[in-house]
Amino acid sequence: MPGDPSLSIIPRDPKFRGLRDYMISFFGLDRPQWEQFVIYLQRLFTLDWGVSYQDHRPVADILFHDLGWTLLLVGTSTIITILIGIAVGAYSAVRRGKAFDFVSTGIGIFLYGMPIFWLGLVLQSAFRKNSVFQTWIPGWPALPTSGYYDDRLIPWNWDIVHLADAGLHLLLPALTLSLGTLAGISLVMRNSLIDVMTEDFVTTARAKGLSPRQVLRRHILPNGLPPMVSLIALDIAFILGGAYQVEVIFRYQGIGFRTIEAIGSLDYPLLQFIIVIGGVAVVLANLLSDFLLLWLDPRIKIS
């Protein structure tokens, strides 16, 4: 990576020369590269991730704090997205070629092409205090547009006031992220279900005298879900990318917000472990999806 990181923590003054040498040996920068890598691995697994250049707190502390909030945001919005996405996808698959299908697919493609940061800005302006809508439409709500809970409530406590406020602050960011990722899920759900609907066992199910709803729930959905699970797992990278943008817009200080800050200040200890965490998240998501698939699809066996 570019830049000499030691310069950003030590004042550029000759009298700090000794300090710089000390830092170099402290970080092990004078050792051979393979030795540095071994030290790196050692520290990675002992959670001894060093100290942030920027605010001089242990990297592990910072990141685990951020990770909690990012997980809350991503988790909430992913659950919303999956539920709504499957419902919309299933309904438009059933009503294929009808008005609902046409409109929802159109809106889907439209949302699909919307930059998430811009969607966040638009929602923010629509729901902030004294928004245009508020002056025109009586009763238009104002929602918190930044942070994870009100500054006046600092420090955090596990009580109803804090939780409610955190929920309120979560609303817009989660909505933005959900809208941004919804289209992909519902469009694929629709196509996957239409695929399933042409299968013979669906005709068998109808021939048995099941109602359309029973056919959908018992026979079509269980067969349409496995491909969705692997897709959502693959999409986790995309969802994380969206979460970064949402966090920046709503000053929701999770991993994404921290990343942008860390890049701005070349905070390498932070950056390298942010990347590690991103990788771990993707691996975990894929592992989880594999287990889900094992449970959903009896044809898949552990080989």
Partner: protein, 307 residues
């Protein structure tokens, strides 16, 4: 040495001519289908509109995008000759939006081109060679596909430090090829099975010949449709990078206009258009590419066409 008499059989045409005829007839056929497909035409009209804006920007835009207008100061509210107002340096935002079309289109198309070339090459080789090479390439592809693309892009962008136009195109192109590789590979696998490749083998063609003369031309329409979709994604990527101040610094792009508007609280100072208009431009341009790409994919992908 005697001369070789080339006997011209009336009515017969050379195999090369025959293939050219077949290919051009197929292209005409596709063109006709595009023309009759409402989705494709809607997308095409949107694309033509923005292409016109980009090409004719110097003629349409009343001001230069990067010089202060003489008549009013910075942060002028919308109105009169400045329908969207002026930005923090006193540049005309309306002109900026029009000029921004150039960068968004240019970066989008070229980055998608880079991604497509890499993806096609990887997909062709992986699918055609097969075996452990295919296995290694696809596993690597899985890894690339599963890295959060934004992080990857940010890291690459930050690593290159100063990004010029070529830099940003490379960053987006280098991080965006894995989907294309996957699509091309699966297409190659199915083409490989087809008869004419077998026949090509039998008459002693080299692998390179089969790959370039038989498989690539047949996979090309699908690659093209996929490239169109990649353009949409590249445009979005550029806007995100621009918004995070990681894109081209010396040119104006829609993402950058939005970033500047955001930094100057455009919404609170009554300059909503500063954010809304460039955003809508991105949305519609991407929408146009998606519509066209999806329709093309539907026309070219017989599996989908049957429905």
């Amino acid at each position: 040495m005697g001369t070789v008499d080339v006997v011209k059989v009336p009515g017969a045409i050379s195999p090369f001519r025959a293939r050219a005829t077949v290919v051009s007839r197929r292209m005409q056929d596709i063109g006709l289908q595009v023309f009759h497909n409402k989705t494709a035409m809607a997308g095409l009209i949107i694309l033509l509109f923005f292409t016109f804006l980009a090409v004719a920007a110097p003629l349409i835009a009343p001001y230069s995008p990067l010089t202060a207008v003489p008549d009013v100061g910075p942060l002028t509210l919308p109105g009169g000759v400045h329908p969207f107002g002026t930005n923090q340096f006193g540049y005309d935002i309306y002109s900026q939006v029009i000029w921004g079309t150039q960068i968004s289109l240019l970066v989008g198309v070229l980055a998608a081109g880079v991604a497509s070339v890499i993806g096609t090459a990887v997909g062709l080789i992986s699918g055609f060679v097969g075996g452990w090479i295919d296995e290694v390439i696809m596993r690597f592809n899985d890894v690339v596909l599963s890295i959060p693309w934004l992080v990857l892009m940010i890291v690459v962008a930050a690593r290159l430090n100063y990004l010029d136009l070529a830099g940003i195109i490379l960053v987006i192109g280098l991080t965006g090829w894995s989907v294309t590789a996957r699509v091309v590979r699966s297409q190659v696998l199915s083409l490989k099975e087809r008869m004419f490749v077998e026949r090509g083998r039998m008459i002693g063609s080299s692998n390179a010949h089969i790959l370039l003369r038989h498989i690539f031309p047949n996979a090309f329409p699908l690659i093209f449709a996929n490239t169109i979709l990649t353009v949409a994604i590249s445009i979005l990527s550029e806007s995100v990078l621009a918004f995070l101040n990681l894109s081209v610094k010396s040119n104006v792009s829609w993402g950058r206009i939005i970033a500047e508007a955001y930094q100057h609280d455009a919404l609170t100072i009554g300059m909503a258009a500063w954010i809304i208009v460039p955003g809508l431009c991105i949305v519609f341009l991407v929408f146009g590419f998606y519509l066209f790409g999806y329709a093309l994919d539907e026309i070219l992908n017989p599996r989908l066409r049957r429905r």
